[in-house]
């Protein structure tokens, strides 16, 4: 029930009572109440000016102060309630009394509840002094950049990632489905499915053991590897770059299960080398002559639309090639194969889509193993400014990945997906 309804119902009761009992006091009281209500209604003409200044950026779960300049331009005073309706922030409601013509400077504490760009939806409610009527004023929607807090980063680091990138690749390709026929028991290798651990033999031998089953087919796998220097990054501790590690790891993994591998190395200009059936990871790396590269890889993702037609033509004329290395490599793949493309989706997303289309047409099943360069940045190189830039680039890359993922399977890898055993061997 509304306050005004309560008062008007009282006035109605009094009016009826006055007429029926022939008593003028209830009539006078009813008239007084109705007069008060009408004057309040006639005077209610809210004009409130609200300006909110929000810091450009904040940190996740850490309070930040928004400054509000409120001015009552109406002829009556009232109460102002300032609310924040965005579900992504917590903000305590502010309530102040404000006289006609008065200006007040307020501070609102906002606690962002998640990271990224979050929309802020402020609302101001002006209520008249007797509390009969109100008016809602919606503030302009603003965006706040929220960076991850140091605490959340520390906590995330504590939780060990259980992503087994190579096993994910195998699952995404769907190669050689396992039968129910038992083959052997073998030692557990990183990347193996933990559900396959045989606990009886593990407890007996004191070492993790895996049950191996026969596979239906042993298919050919093509590894399409971008060896362009833009895609390389030296890892300080091990003096090798992540491309070398990932390539070696892939070869080792698939060789162990008996798959036949064909390696095709390419760069922006074309195919660099084709390596049919390498013996092991180390020899494959040797044949490709992959040496660690220093320097910063481009972390800014290219747009999916790519360069304009004219600039593409000029570039191809300058390079004297009309098809990119990746597309050429895709054309070399035999029909109905399994293909792993090791590339950075941020370098040439358009080409990746083209290659994926070519492979799909040829009946091949392709997956992109995408080492995100943002994950591979060394901690020592980071300062506050770089961290923010890196975060922006990370968000751009995530956005691009979301766009591509409907058209091609992508598996994102970071340094934690590199197997220490492979690193040691190299």
């Amino acid at each position: 029930m509304r306050r005004t309804d309560l008062l008007l119902s009282l006035a109605a009761v009094l009016s009826a009572g006055a007429y029926l009992t022939g008593n003028i006091l209830p009539a006078l009281l009813a008239a007084g109440i109705m007069g008060y209500y009408s004057t309040a209604r006639l005077s209610f003409n809210p004009k409130v000016e609200v300006k909110r200044e929000i810091p450009e950026r904040g940190t996740e779960l850490e309070p930040l102060k928004a400054r509000l300049m409120v001015k009552n331009l109406s002829e009556t005073g009232g109460r102002l309630r300032i609310k924040e309706e965005s579900e992504f922030v917590f903000a305590r409601e502010l309530e102040v009394s404000i006289m006609p013509g008065e200006a007040k400077l307020l501070e609102q504490t906002i606690v962002p509840q998640r990271k990224g760009y979050i929309p802020l939806k402020g609302k101001v409610i002006f209520e008249d002094e007797p509390g009969f009527f109100y008016e809602e004023i919606q503030l302009d929607e603003e965006k706040l950049l929220v960076l991850p807090s140091a605490r959340s980063i520390r906590e995330a680091l504590k939780v060990k990632r259980q992503v087994e990138a190579i096993a994910e690749v195998e699952k995404a390709l769907g190669i050689g489905l396992e039968t129910l026929d038992f083959k052997e028991l073998r030692e557990f290798h990183p990347g193996d499915d933990v559900r396959k651990i045989d606990w009886k033999s593990t407890s007996r031998l004191g070492e993790l053991m895996i049950k191996e089953f026969y596979r239906e087919t042993l298919s050919e796998i093509y590894l399409l590897i971008n060896v362009d220097r833009k895609f390389r990054r030296e890892l300080r501790k091990v003096k090798v770059d992540y491309l070398v590690l990932i390539t070696a790891q892939l070869v080792e993994y698939f060789r162990r299960f008996g798959y036949r591998i064909n390696g095709i190395a390419y760069n922006d200009g074309g195919i660099v080398k084709m390596v049919p059936n390498p013996r092991d990871g180390k020899s494959f790396i040797g044949e490709l002559k992959l040496a660690p590269r220093r320097g910063l890889p481009p972390i800014k993702a290219a747009s999916l639309e790519g360069e304009s037609l004219l600039s593409r033509k000029i570039l191809s004329l300058r390079r004297r090639v009309y098809t990119s290395g990746l597309v050429r490599a895709a054309l070399k793949v035999e029909a109905n194969s399994y293909v792993v493309i090791v590339d950075d989706i941020g370098l040439h997303p358009r080409e990746i889509l083209k290659a994926a289309g070519i492979l799909r047409k040829g009946g091949s099943n392709a997956v992109v193993l995408y080492p995100n360069p943002v994950f591979f940045m060394g901690k020592d190189e980071l300062d506050e400014e770089k961290l923010e830039l890196l975060y922006r680039r990370y968000l751009e890359r995530k956005k691009l990945m979301r766009k591509l993922i409907g058209k091609v399977k992508i598996i994102e890898v970071g340094p934690k997906d590199l197997i220490p055993k492979v690193v040691e061997k190299l």
């Binding site: 309560l6 009016s15 022939g22 003028i24 209830p26 006078l28 009408s38 004057t39 006639l42 109100y134």
Partner: protein
Amino acid sequence: MIGLIASLLTAVITGNYILLLAPLIYAAALKSRDLALIAFYLYVLVMAFYFNPGSIYTLSGMEGVLMAFSTVIVLDEILSGVRFRIPSREEFLVLGALTVSAFTIYTFLPVLAAVTVYVIYRRFGKPVLYTMGWWLLLAASLYAARSRLMHRGAQALIIVGLALIFILIGERRDVKAVEVKLR
């Protein structure tokens, strides 16, 4: 505070001691505005039917007008929030004028009317002119029809009818109303 003192003085002048219950509404207002509004509802109902003044054209009828004025001031104060504080200089002057004029109904009535205008002006500003215009219209109508309004029921009908016209004028403005919440 003005409403409280006005009610107490009106209670003494009119002999309607129900008005002495006004402090209870102020106590309720300290807890919550909506609770005070409900207390006010009961207070007005009891006051209205406990006391039966004579015709509006008599001195006894003027006592009813006094009660209506003091009730409006009480309503304004409980809705705007009751706080324990030292009254301002202006309020001291108003309270002093009320107390000094409370010796006879002839002085108290115009002073209380002026105080009501002051309270409404302080709260709502210029729209107090509508209220004053409406009072004048009511007074003029009652005066003009004095020979035909011998029965008090008829007088009540005219008062309520003119108040409804004032409500219709107020309804011109489209507003959103606040809900009653008892917490």
